[in-house]
């Protein structure tokens, strides 16, 4: 909770930089943004460099 106001401010600033007038959503989405980014970081940490992506469409067509 301690860094929540900072995250909300970060959300607000990022959206403004893209020209988006969405100040009203910065506060409500901040916790979700925090959680999503932390989860993606955890996913990235699990992936090795050899876990290269294979396009789903190409694989599906082969089968």
């Amino acid at each position: 909770m301690s860094d929540l106001p900072e995250t909300a401010e970060h959300v607000r600033r990022t959206l403004r930089e893209r020209g988006l007038d969405l100040d009203d959503v910065a506060e409500p989405i901040a916790p979700g943004v925090d959680s999503l980014r932390a989860r993606i970081r955890a996913v990235a940490d699990r992936l090795g460099v050899d876990d290269a992506p294979r396009p789903p469409r190409a694989r599906a067509r082969r089968s």
């Binding site: 988006l20 290269a52 294979r54």
Partner: protein
Amino acid sequence: MSAAFLPAAELADRYARRSLSPVEVTRELLERIDRLDPQLRAWITLTPERAMDQARAAEAAIGRGEAPSPLCGVPVGIKDLIDVAGVRCTSGSRVRADHVPKRDAFVVERLARAGAVCLGKQNLHEFAYGVTSTNEAFGVCRNPWSMDRVPGGSSGGAGVALAAGMTPLAIGTDTGGSIRIPAAACGVVGLKPTFGLVSRRGVFPLAWSLDHVGPMARTVADAAALLAAIAVHDPEDPWCAEAPTEGFAGATDLRGRRFGLLGAPLFADAEPVVASAVEEAAGTLESLGALRVDLDTASLQHAYTAFHAMLATEASAIHERTLRERPREYSALTRQALARGFMVSAVDYVHARREQARVQRSLERMLEEAEVLIAPSLPRTAPPIGEPMSREPAEAWNRWMPPFNLSGHPALSLPCGFDREGLPIGLQIVGRAFEDGRVLGWGAAYERETDWNQRRPAGFEREQTRAVDL
């Protein structure tokens, strides 16, 4: 008798025997919609003139012995983010309330060619970006099994219309469960086909990497017939595969065939009534001679995170311009969801795509051990309208569906029971890529052994209309 709850296959049979007429059935269903929809809000735009014209043409074709397909004269509803030429296509949002496409979507073209009757455009969660179909702009969609519950979404109008006997067939879309969620919550059948099997031309996107178009119906056989009509290669859709498009009525003899029951840690916290319904379904499959394999799902645990990152960023890219120009025309919740996508970096998106590949490989390995995988569709039955919906992986209502949007494997939801309040429970059956017919075969075998799809929401079965027997 009323045609309200007759399956498409029976309508076709009765048309051929001249005991029912497409014109009378279409008229009956349009009248039924007029009467029921002010409460249920399953439809955004009806197309009665087009429907009656198509019904008359179908009737004439049948009379000449020239019905082009088993769907000739059979009514169908279209999710209102799929284009029908000359009919407004709102995507469930004020942002596109006045959008009128000039050309039919590929699937709509295919249905017209099959002789199906388009009743109109069905309600959905705004821009398909949500799972409740609580639509601020076009009406709150209500679940016929309990009017204070959500029908699921985003193809909620389709689920409601099927459950309430307003149409025997519907076309939905599924990016993170949007066909299977309303199918499960409304006690009907919905198939997310293999990624690339059905063209998405003329369908407003939610997330290009995850979107699928597919059939919804009250029986597996009807879903298979609808899939057969729309699963044709579309050279104008670069994502549409050149795959076999016949044989969707898969084999129903399950003797000696393997299914995998997806278990812990991912599929571990269903409500007890849901868990026991799925366990019973597994028992039914075994009683038909199928062999059960229990599968660990540790490798799928991060699928929802990868899905969420991809969905959020792709949806935000699609909406960036209109969000900048007309942000207040979006509902507050959609605005929030779209804003979230701008907070995911390109590097994070690439990690999500890599996790997608990992999830796909993992599911392919499981599908080497078993011909199909089964799991609950949803961890709980339909929640009350207005209950906040979480997007956290451990809490999201749809959390057991996105792994198959990531992987592209075909995934079917069909009814497998009811809770104590009489709300439907859904069973998910997942198969190998482009083996949609095999998945439907397993579903048909299960459906034949049970009577879940014969039950109707209280009050709606008694809601009969005038006789249409000719």
